[in-house]
Every structure is written in C-alpha cells, then in structure tokens.
Assembly symmetry: C2
Homo-oligomer: 216 residues x 2
C-alpha cells in the first residue's frame, strides 16, 4: 500500500447508511468542514426533534429562493431597496465600497459611518477566474453618473486581490469630480510593535500622522 492509497484509505469512511452518507457529503462540501466534523454535525441533527430539522431545512430553501439584493447598493436585503439606502438620515453623498455583506455588517457595528454602501460582490482575482465584469463595478459607475456623490471610500481587504480591485476602481473613477479615499492602514489598536510585520510597521512610519489628528 503506497502513501496515496493509505491516505485515501484513512479518509474513506464506511457508512452504515446511504442517507447518513449523503447528508455527511453535503455538509463536508461547506468551507472548512471535513468529513469528521460533518459526521458530528449530522449525528447532532439526527438527535434533534423532527420540527427543528424541518425548520433548519426550510430556512435554507427560503434563503436561496426568497432572498433579494438591494437594487441600489447590492447588499443582501428583504426589500427591493435596503434599509440603509432608504434611511433619510444617511448621507447619500458618501459611498463606502466593500467586498460583501460581512464588511457592511462589520462597518455598521463600528457606528462610525453615516454614509451608504456599494457591495461589489467579490474582488478581482484572475487566479479564481473573477474579472471586473463579474463584480458590480459598472453599476457603481452608473450610480456615480446618476446621483450627486462627493466621496467614495474604498474599504477593501489589504490583500493582493483587494489592492488590484482598488487600483482598477481608481482608474475607473478618477475622471469623476469625486474624492476617492481608502481606509487607513497601520498598526491595530492594542497591537504590540514587536509582533507587527515589517511592511505594516514600515508603511505606518512613512504615513505617520500629527498627534493632534490621531486623537481627533
């Protein structure tokens, strides 16, 4: 038995039931969930009352069939236009461009942003076959043409894909008479200097801010 067959042998599980095997296979398709975790979850579900399992199953079906996306900002929503876009107190002249709905939730939790959002639905990533046309970039350009916007904040991840997307967006938007900004990068609050990577530390020295501004 060579290493590969031995590995496949270790990974294969002998299920006593086809139904059990199907459910485990479905769960192990989810990201970060292997066969052993999937089996643990399925056995947990099997011990739940039938009504709970039905509710779980129905919530998944409804999620896929009934959910819609806000026609303005493309965030996940139950209405045609989401609550943030319809709120009268929100500053419609300030658009924060984010990757997905998780980023909207993260920024909303800070209570520091009073503008509206634009959800791209991903980042440009040639490795994963995601190009600019797969994202809501044209709709952002259209939105800027149709309404009066003063500032666009590009709040994307500080990764290769995030930086590529920021650069692409900058080229697309720079001819509009709109201020384009990115969120500040540097050392996290509570972070100890000795554990910070060199790139972040180096950039945070180069882009240092006057002390008066840092406590504003």
């Amino acid at each position: 038995m060579n290493f590969f067959t031995f590995f496949t042998y270790l990974c294969s599980m002998n299920f006593s039931s086809k139904l059990l095997e199907n459910a485990v296979n479905e769960f192990s398709r989810l990201p970060g969930i292997g066969q052993k975790t999937a089996l643990r979850l399925v056995l947990h579900i099997l011990n739940q009352p039938a009504t709970d399992v039905q509710r779980f199953s129905e919530s998944l079906m409804k999620l896929k069939s009934d959910i819609c996306f806000c026609t303005v900002c493309h965030n996940i929503s139950d209405q045609v236009i989401c609550e943030i876009c319809t709120a009268p107190k929100r500053d419609k002249g300030l658009i924060c461009v984010v990757e997905d709905t998780r980023d909207v939730m993260a920024i909303e939790n800070t209570n520091q942003f009073n503008g509206v959002y634009h959800v791209l639905g991903g980042l440009i990533s040639p490795m994963d076959g995601v190009g600019p046309s797969d994202l809501n970039i044209e709709k952002l350009v259209q939105r800027l043409q149709e309404s009066h916007v003063e500032e666009v904040i590009l709040a994307l991840s500080a990764t290769m894909e995030g930086d590529t997307t920021i650069f692409y967006l900058y080229k697309k938007l720079k001819d509009f008479n709109i201020q384009i900004s990115t969120i500040a990068r540097g050392i996290a609050f509570g972070g100890e200097l000795e554990y910070v990577d060199e790139v972040t530390l180096g950039r945070s020295i180069v882009t240092r801010v006057p002390y008066e501004r840092s406590i504003a």
Copy 2:
C-alpha cells in the same frame, strides 16, 4: 456599559435580511459553530446553484424522516437489520458494545474485529440527565438471553461517563455465563513516554504484558 452589555453588543450582529438572520441562527445552533462561522457558511450556500441548495436541504429532511435503526444492534441503518448483523461471515457470539455509530465506523476501519456490535446510543451521564433507561441496555440483556453469546467487549471511552457505564454494564451482565472484557488501555502507538499522563503511564506499568504476547 458594563462587561456583559459590551459582550452582548459584540456578539449581536445587525443582519440586513431576516431570511439571512434565520439561516445563520439555525446554523449557529450546531455544535462548535458560532455566529461568524455560521454567516460564512450561509453566504457560501447563497453563492451555490439553487439545485445544490435544494439537494442539501432535502438530504437533511430525508435523513430525519427516513433513517431507521437496526433492530438487533441499534446502529444507524437503511434496512430493518443492518449489513453487519446480516453478514454470514460475522461471529454472532462476539458482541462489541459501543457508544454510537462513530465508534462502529472507527472499529470497522481497523479491520481487526469480526464480531457484531451493540450500540448503546450514549453513555450514563447524570450531569446531562442521561440514565441507564435512556440507553439500549435492557435490549442488550434481552439479546444475551435470547441468543448464544460467548464474549461481550465493552469498547467505551476512557472517561468518567464511560467508566460509569462499564461498571453498570458489568453489574448487569456478570451473572450470565459470558466473558466480559474491555479494550486495552495504555500508551498509544507512536506515543512518547515523556508526554504520557501519569495515570496512563502508571496503569500501563501495572498492567504490563509479556513481550511474546505484545507482538502476537
């Protein structure tokens, strides 16, 4: 804001959609899955084709409604009597008592056991409100009365609950003319002595075996 309100504030998530919130809540009820992981899983599912989501949802419904347990060994099965109990090559006089179906799978993977199983469906655990009557113990006694069994192997976890259950089973079974054994405990293969806990190491010295037997 005291610590508790701050903690609740950190844990609460502002979902942009009720459907999304429901699905995340259902997922976060599973063991070992928090709200953030649940959200990641739900957003992954949302990106899948509708047919995949339907198949996932249906596999859960079918699992709960259609699955049955072997009437002999109480393992999860698609038939009234499972494949192991019907296999003619299996030694029906040797019963291995285990906690649940995961243990059956683990022992089957070793290819070292040719008897049949009896799945208890749990361990005696007063802390969790699980008593002997909640397990398939009476059915094991009945099985021993009705058929000719030579040996019962108690293959339960080496925990407080496992030991309690083994002791209870031993008292129940000792009047039958059947050999009762437990699986061997000691140092795992590949284990280094310096990292083994004192109890295991001490017991493994006391219960040492002749070298000829250990390589048999």
